[in-house]
């Protein structure tokens, strides 16, 4: 009775990174930054993956092969039916955004920012994108953000594309009044420390249920303990306790 989603495409778009389109009932997905929890045959726990784009009943996710589960996912042919819990988590609150938000993504933190960018544009904002990767091989979605009309800067740790360094080394290329960011913890922390701008930060945690029942994913915030899967994954800057 969870939703059934059918794999439409599943293609390799960067080193170990795959883009999967799924067809199914997406009605529960209301905000960018929400995630879906995907059951994979042979694995006990579901895998949480952010919604990257939404077009009616067609949902796009982008994932990196990290361990056995995502490795298995990357082998699924079109037509595979997956059991999915859609629309989990709070997602980004676009109403809080300033007029010129900067979207900062690191690695597989980039995908949810794509749907976010579309929503912000729809709301009349003028977002820009700063995307961090390890190397040119890992880069994806630069063109996609550009095609949406965003000023898009890529930073790579080895300098093989764009700015050499981490995202915070390229912050000065932007004028912004708000931040939306998603990526590895050290990146989130560096962004937090390097800027005073208000903003929203999306976190990761290992999950049991993904819908608030097990207390597996709890983190400490300025406003008490929160479940990353339910009151998160997005925390407001002022809530964060490092």
């Amino acid at each position: 009775m969870a939703e059934k989603f059918t794999v439409v495409t599943n293609i390799n778009i960067a080193k170990d990174v795959f883009l999967m389109q799924l067809y199914g009932n997406t009605e529960k997905i209301t905000r960018p930054g929400q995630f879906v929890h995907i059951e994979l045959p042979g694995f006990f726990l579901r895998r949480p993956i952010s919604v990257c784009d939404l077009n009616g009943y067609k949902m796009t996710i982008v994932y990196k092969v990290f361990g056995d589960g995502t490795q298995y996912m990357s082998t699924l042919p079109a037509g595979t039916v997956l059991d999915v819990l859609p629309g989990l988590g709070n997602g980004f609150d676009t109403e809080k955004s300033g007029a010129r938000p900067l979207l900062i993504g690191g690695g597989v933190g980039v995908p949810p920012l794509y749907m976010l960018a579309k929503r912000l544009i729809r709301d009349g904002k003028r977002p820009a994108a700063l995307l961090g990767f390890n190397s040119a091989d890992d880069v994806f979605f630069k063109e996609e953000f550009e095609r949406l009309g965003l000023k898009t800067v890529v930073a790579t740790a080895d300098g093989s594309m764009g700015v050499k360094g981490v995202v915070t080394d390229a912050l000065d290329q932007f004028a912004f009044d708000y931040i939306f960011t998603c990526g590895p913890l050290p990146m989130l922390k560096a962004v937090y420390e390097k800027t005073d701008a208000d903003g929203q930060y999306s976190f990761e945690e290992r999950m049991g249920c993904g819908f608030g029942a097990c207390m597996g994913c709890v983190c400490k915030t300025q406003k008490g303990y929160k479940r990353i899967c339910k009151e998160g994954p997005v925390l407001k800057r002022e809530e964060i306790v490092w």
Partner: protein, 302 residues
């Protein structure tokens, strides 16, 4: 029509399906998905005297056909919980089962007393077996004498029937079961989680911040069936059986082993609809095995 009803001390259940403690919160998240009044009852999250944050994260790891958790009894403390329980009847009309834990006998007693006047609580389940708390929590469940002491102390104050929840991490679970029965327990719940560990190959460290965690899910089912079977032969008080149940067939198997009602934990974390699915398929499944009344098969496997 198959009769699904079963009886526990002080509670008549429409069916034997009961979400297990720590895997259902207070039911709120599930009530958002479907009407949870279809359940036999549910056990709410383990509660202690003082509020507890629990263990640092990661608290969850995956295992073959199962999971490890090291939540460590996160809860707002019994006083807050008792207050919140007043609102429970907005989405659940039946009696619930309260799960309490403690680090000293006094703490167990304190929690049990607080629950005496909470009308919606039908049974108190005393968790002497949580493997995820340091400082003695588990010691009560791995030693027959301490188990009996906790039982006696709680029974002395509790106005509700008391079930003691046993740990599977013991050499002889029947010895502990008998000690609890002799000390006055009205029933037993088993099993809690098996102590396990995963190691992160990249970090070369235990994956869970707490190092070890409790194993549950289908992987433990045969161990749970064995223990329920053994305890059923050792005691006369009723048993709530759990550990790895994830289908209507598993419910029947657990009951044949000796369970009067069946709790489900990990399987409901993976699939929140499983309680509904199991309750709906129980009549048909029971019929397939020639079962007319579920009550008839309690202990039928002996």
């Amino acid at each position: 029509m198959v009769d699904l009803s079963v009886t526990l001390p002080g509670m008549e259940l429409d069916n034997p399906v009961i979400p297990a403690s720590g895997c259902f919160g207070y039911g709120r998240e599930f009530a958002d998905l479907y009407d949870i009044n279809i359940l036999g009852s549910f056990v709410f999250k383990g509660t202690t005297k003082e509020p507890r944050f629990g263990n640092p994260t990661p608290r969850i790891a995956e295992t073959p056909s199962g999971m490890l958790n090291a939540v460590g009894l996160q809860n707002p403390g019994i006083d807050v919980v008792v207050k919140q329980l007043a609102y429970l009847n907005r989405y659940f009309r039946k009696k619930v089962i309260a799960n309490i834990s403690g680090f000293s006998i006094d703490e167990f007693v304190y929690c049990a007393e607080k629950l005496n006047d909470v009308e919606q609580v039908g049974i108190i389940e005393v968790n002497i077996s949580c493997p995820n708390v340091h400082g003695g929590g588990i010691a009560f469940g791995t030693d027959a004498k301490s188990a009996a002491q906790v039982t006696k102390a709680v029974k002395a104050v509790a106005k509700k029937p008391v079930f003691i929840k046993l740990s599977p991490n013991v050499t002889d679970i029947t010895e502990i079961a008998k000690a609890c029965e002799d000390a006055g327990a009205d029933g037993l719940s088993l099993i809690n989680t098996l102590l396990g560990m995963r190691i992160d190959l990249k970090k070369r460290k235990p994956l869970l911040a707490n190092k070890t965690g409790g194993l549950s899910g289908p992987a433990v089912f045969p161990v749970a069936v064995r223990m329920v079977y053994q305890v059923y032969e050792a005691v006369k008080i009723p048993i709530m059986g759990m550990g790895g149940v994830s289908s209507a067939k598993d419910v029947l198997e657990m009951m044949m082993a000796g369970a009067s009602a069946v709790q489900i934990g990990a399987a409901g974390l993976k699939n929140p609809y499983i309680f509904k699915e199991i309750i709906q398929s129980l009549p048909e499944t029971a019929e397939k095995y020639g079962i007319k009344r579920l009550k008839d098969i309690i202990g039928a496997g002996h």
